[in-house]
Amino acid sequence: MSLRILKPTAEFADLLPKEYQELVENGPYHEQKGISDLGTFKEIIEEHPHCAGCGVALGVRLVAASLPAPADTLIIGTPGCSFFGLAQTALNYSNTAFGNQNAVASGLKRMLKIRYPDRNKDVVVLVGDGGIADIGLDMTLHSWLRRENITTIMVDNEVYGNTGGQESGMTKEGQVLNMAPEGKKFPKIPVFELARTSGCAYGARVTVASPRKIGEAVKKAILVAREVGPTYVQIYTPCPTNLKFPPDQTVKVAKDAEAGYYSFEEFISPEAQEYMQKTTKAV
């Protein structure tokens, strides 16, 4: 959210809670902030209600710090643990009915292009694996096939975390969960491959064990989406509560996955590559 909107009039400034005043004075608005500036500015107004050691919360936090233009960014969420993370941030945030995120994002992006023809407004979908790979898969794929100028980010905890542990399309084959007692019967849906073949101009697959890679991937994805076409970032964000590992092992679990089936991958179209070379030269 822009500081102009957030800033109270002088008469009211003292009446606001301390946390709000701190956000106005030391939020992420004032100069370009990135992942390496974390710890030096106020990220959200208050705490969030995620479990201790939550990979999704860490993923959301790293994404929020990677946005190239936070004041001109609109985050689109949907039900899931990812949506709590942003409920109190300094960012513009719009929730959607579960699974509708890429349809709503497409409409908002088109509307913002008309309303602000001379200004980049970044529309970023930030939702869970169930939201994208299951209920929202058709709307996600269609937004890519239509070449909408939006960025889609999946925080993949390989489970419906928010509703107590049902399997999602992104759950690993054989994984036993609270509400999948016999284990999942088919492999992870290859959403990353689908992004590549359905028109995304840039895609990256990363894990919370590599924060700086998340930073670079999110920045690239948002810049490419401004001018070239849809982009996709898939982040492995393990859930200690449902995958039943100790909460201090979240990053280790992600690191181990990175050494195997969740290795770092990236693709970029020739047009997006050319655009990135031009933009980085201009900066």
């Binding site: 390496s36 974390l38 959200i44 705490e47 969030h48 995620h50 939550c54 936090r61």
Partner: protein
């Protein structure tokens, strides 16, 4: 507050790895002199920062 992270300032070299590992915003901060501060009232005691710290400067108790 049941448990919370604590930092041993003697051991900490200000590398910031803990800040990039903590899932909770506004819990670990760093000042210009590279001193780490922990908002213990907000810490959930998960221990991720303890595992991340290469200097073994953090404990959860």
């Amino acid at each position: 507050m049941y448990v919370a992270a604590r930092v041993d300032e003697e051991k900490c070299n200000g590398c910031k790895l803990c800040i990039l590992t903590c899932p909770d915003p506004n819990v670990i901060s760093i000042d210009k002199a590279k001193n780490i501060g922990i908002n213990q009232a907000r810490c959930k005691g998960c221990g991720l920062c303890v595992v991340a710290c290469p200097k073994e400067a953090l404990t959860v108790s």
